[in-house]
Symmetry: C2
Subunit: 654 residues, 2 copies
């Protein structure tokens, strides 16, 4: 890979959040080469993804001297570099790829600390190999991000009276409190900077994105933004606050019914907002992102100010009780409010839960998007079952082929994350991303795993299917069927109100556990409505999560099995929470799930001897539904293929 500043101007699509340990995931050799702000429904012609290798030790070698000069000029003995950007983004815009610029590391989580004479790069367990190839060990020692962390490093390594700088817009208040305490113990001190020295040192740093922001149509949003502001404002008031700080761009997008194009994979308008308890609001956003249509849409209850004035907006909250979320708003927000004499109320972003509970317009939109996306995916699955059975197709070609089918859908706005296109042993890495160095052929006798999704104006999709190339072995079929049993259990379950995703997680794992297997990632994440492919607050995972599943919440259901060195299996549908049909004689109201994702589950991998009658019944009913919904959109060989793929295992076709 050439170290070209131009290359850094592209925006990187970050990976499947929370797949592993609730953290973020690898981005190895993946980048987007266009700006995604089109608003008209035109089939895309450009290729969305490319597969070049990115990052590498040359970054640190070239940039560390520049950074140290900037630190020296700023009177700092060191500087802390987190992966995070100003917006807590999952997908960083190119101007915020500071950690990669300084170190060459491209993982989705990590940090570095650069002192005048030494430096350390911090990664978690997923990246212990990757860091070796991307970060020069002559320049950086490697350290554990989770157990040791920046705080641990500073306590052990900082020298008395050293002054270590940090950018308070890039850290959470709680993380900074820990680091502050560590610096104090070491006799060193921390200094918040106004201008990030990396931004000073970084020649040709890309400009921040300035994509146009557009209204999200009411027929898709299902609720006017004035109504949303009023009811969230009333919640804020009921909880005893005068105003709430909203810094999560997805929350802003939902609250004001706006969609932007500042980052890849998610139509976010990077900005900040203050919501008053009466529902009035101030949106801090760069002027050039706004159109007359958007100004009109926002109306006179939403004051518009440049984003550079957000600090002034915070300072004006003197004496007010202000709700602010330490998980989404930065230390800078807290310090500014505190300095202004506001009373801070630490509570979750008040938009997060209402946003997660989709209304009927959003659910209907999601269903339509999933049928559209399903038809594209079926074209691809047919292609895999025919052309790709040659054994000569490689992972990149397959990913491009899938992208091509999706782009033939005129409504596609973007992919919702980088496609995981993983052949054979690459599939055993749950967070694998293909690049030109890693790509493998889809060989006969192997499994191919594809995890992908699209962004449509009416919904966001995320689906994983595993497909045999050639004849699968009995072992592959057994492993696949165990994963399928877990998937079915989490599809069929009915549960009372108040049940959390943590309580349901075991259902997807039990069939694997009973055979001595497990998977090291969560089972399900929330999904937005033409917004983030990963959203909270609900989650289905081993990690405790106190949020009850509520009607309208969309979650993924994606158990897996990974045989290192051989293959990976994952079956993922999105499903939404809905009232369950009452069972005769039942005495309690139950909730249940309804599948959104429409795509056949490969029958050659199903070992029916391992499935119960009820499980086969679920599979047949699901396939009947897939066929009924997708067949009208398909014709010719693909339609014939779909009919066969959806044939019932039990009895006659329904």
């Amino acid at each position: 890979m050439r170290l070209s500043p131009a290359l850094l101007k592209v925006r990187f699509c970050k990976a499947h959040l929370q797949k592993m340990h609730g953290g973020r995931t690898a981005v190895t050799g993946f980048r987007l080469i266009r700006t995604l702000a089109a608003t008209s429904f035109q089939p895309m012609t450009q290729q969305i993804q490319n597969f070049e290798v990115k990052g590498g030790p040359q970054f640190g070698r070239a940039h560390l001297p520049l950074l140290r000069a900037a630190l020296s000029a700023a009177g700092l003995d060191g500087f802390i570099i987190p992966h995070e950007d100003e917006y807590n983004n999952e997908y960083l815009p190119a101007n915020a790829e500071r950690l990669m610029w300084a170190t060459g590391f491209t993982g989705s989580a990590g940090a570095a600390i650069v002192m005048s004479d030494r430096a350390a790069a911090f990664v978690d367990g997923r990246y212990t190999e990757q860091v070796k190839s991307q970060v020069d060990p002559e320049l950086f020692e490697y350290a554990d991000l989770v157990e040791f962390g920046i705080a641990g490093w500073i306590r052990a390594n900082a020298k008395p009276r050293e002054v270590i700088g940090y950018d308070p817009r890039l850290h959470s208040p709680d993380a900074m409190a820990k680091i502050e305490a560590a610096a104090k113990k070491a006799g060193a001190s921390l200094k918040a900077v106004d201008v990030n020295p990396i931004d000073t040192a970084w020649e040709d740093r890309p400009t921040p994105p300035r994509a146009k922001v557009h209204p999200h149509p009411l027929e898709l949003a299902g609720e006017d933004h004035s109504e949303k502001r009023r009811r969230i404002g009333a919640d804020v008031e009921e909880d005893g606050a005068d105003a709430a700080i909203i810094t999560e761009p997805a929350s802003i997008a939902w609250l004001f019914n706006l969609r932007g194009g500042d980052v890849s994979c998610t139509p976010l308008p990077l900005s900040a907002a203050i919501l008053e308890k009466d529902g009035r609001a101030t949106l801090f956003i760069e002027d050039e992102k706004l159109t007359d249509e958007t100004r009109g849409h926002l109306g006179n209850e939403v004051a518009l100010r440049p984003e550079t004035e957000f600090g002034d907006g915070l300072k004006a909250l003197t004496g007010k009780t202000v709700r602010v979320d330490p998980a989404t708003s930065s230390a800078w927000v807290f310090q500014t409010l505190d300095g202004a004499g506001a009373e801070l109320q630490r509570k979750p972003d008040p938009v997060a839960l209402p946003k997660a509970c989709k209304n009927s317009a959003e659910i209907e939109g999601s269903k339509k998007a999933h049928i559209r996306d399903g038809a594209a995916l079926v074209r691809f699955l047919h292609w895999l079952d025919t052309d790709a059975q040659s054994g000569d197709v490689d992972e990149i070609a397959a990913a491009i082929q899938l992208e091509t089918f999706r782009k033939q859908t005129p409504e596609l706005k973007d992919i919702s994350f980088e496609t995981i296109s993983a052949a054979g042993p690459n599939g055993a890495f749950p967070h694998y991303r293909v690049n030109t160095a890693s790509t493998r052929r889809l060989e006969r006798g192997s499994l191919y795993l594809v995890d992908s999704g699209g962004q449509y104006p009416d919904g966001t999709t995320d689906v994983t299917r595993t497909v045999p190339i050639g004849d699968p072995t009995a072992e592959m079929r057994r492993h696949f069927t165990l994963v399928l049993k877990g998937h079915i259990a989490l599809s069929q379950i009915r549960f009372p109100e108040g049940t959390t995703g943590s309580a349901l997680d075991v259902l997807a794992r039990a069939p694997l556990w009973n055979e001595g297997f497990d998977y090291d990632h969560g089972t399900g994440h929330g999904v937005g409505s033409y917004l983030g492919v990963h959203e909270g607050p609900q989650r289905i995972s081993k990690a405790p999560n106190a949020i009850a599943l509520k009607p309208g919440m969309i979650v993924s259901n994606e158990p897996g099995y990974y045989k290192v060195g051989d293959y990976g299996i994952r079956i993922e549908n999105l499903q939404f929470v809905t009232d369950a049909a009452p069972v005769p004689g039942g005495d309690r109201k139950m909730l249940g799930f309804e599948a959104l994702t429409m795509a056949p589950i490969h029958r050659a991998l199903v070992d029916t001897t391992l499935l119960s009658g009820a499980e086969l019944q679920w599979l047949d009913a699901y396939h009947a539904d897939v066929k009924a919904k997708l067949l009208p959109l398909l014709d010719g060989d693909v339609a014939d293929w779909l009919v066969k793929a959806c044939e019932p295992f039990q009895g006659a076709t329904p």
Copy 2:
């Protein structure tokens, strides 16, 4: 019920902790009429349980004037009366039944506040009916214990400058902090008392129990107390403390290998201890409880001081870092340490987790106790299937009959909790306790539910079976089989290390949920080794619990179904966590459960059409195990009955 002071001298056996909402449970009309400190293995002859109605409005009518006079004499405008005693006991000794004395309320959780001119009684959702019959509404307003609580009442009702007393030995520090804040907001103030005014006002108050404390034999404990003290002390040191405060009597019993007899149902030595990081300890215990054998057993690394000097022991910790558990040690302990200038380290009781993980001697002992207890229970189940089928037996007679069979076991030391002997509609109350007013006949065409347990020197048992009287209906069999499916799922599951009981809870509920049912209590609690029938820190329930299940932990597995006005169903075994046998091809180490409880599950209630082959296989294997272990202890009709009760549903007898 006569309001006799003598009646208050008996000790009350408190109920199934945490069955409902994690709280404690009802004690209606139940009391123990003997002192349980026998040490030799002699079959008991006295009746352990009796079934008189207790509590009632006459308590408040007689005692409120006495209490108000004592408050006036102490210069207090009011006083807070929690249910808890000085030892956070599940089963209060008679001298600590202060809430019942003041109000007449006998529930296992609750509180009251008595002001000079008004008073309130606080109960949770389980007791909203019971409080009406036991607490005079002319004297007490009723208030919600959980949502409103003492803090809520004080904030709403206390008048400026009122001084409200409390006994700091009876409250947790966190509960008191909340109440303090409420009093401050109301302009009132709290005053900690040294002498509880109830103890002053209570004429003929029973003396505190002074049962002899005996060594728990090494062959049953499996680990010498010096070794226990050293390893727990090392844990305390590793966590950065100089000493730990141990106030939970069960922790003291385990740590020093002692058993006492101060309360019913659990062989607790009421006392307190300070454990130093080097393993040396001071045990604060009344001299008259000690024997020469016990003094010799404790040796010279355990200093013995009267319990009245515990405060002096705490005050001597000036400058030390002291580990203390806010969930088990009282506000008084915290205040005393704080006043002495100790540095408080708020952490769980360091004994709780090691105590929960039984060693092989304890597990082997538990197995033996369960076989012994199972034989007694089989005699009872046989009796239910024969004599009690007449329809003329009542709940009290059945409970006495079961107690009689258990007492024929020479090793029985006590019952482990009051027997739940519930016929027909009484079974629909999960926490039901029979008294002379509530007892019902076991009528033909009904279900009878019996939840009971014994204390043996080598183990504690707790088992529930549901039995048909006459022919069960198809509906009863369906409901029973759904509960059984949940029980089997939680018996069969294999799970990786790190899995919590909260993660497994759904397995026991899913078959019920899928048919529109649920139960409003936890699925499983920890059980001690000849100690508490309810112990933590592990738990299987909807409520989040961060404690991973570890080998040696004993937990109950007790799903249920309750049809109000008709019947209740519960199936409870104790089971322990053990390494699961590896499955061929499995790639991860798994843990699993092994059943301790040995008693047939009534075959007439099993609808085999609702069970899978694997479920029937579990049931047959369990019954084969029960038969193999219990048959040698039985003969005649009972042995014949057991053979039939354990006949396999599938194929030939193994």
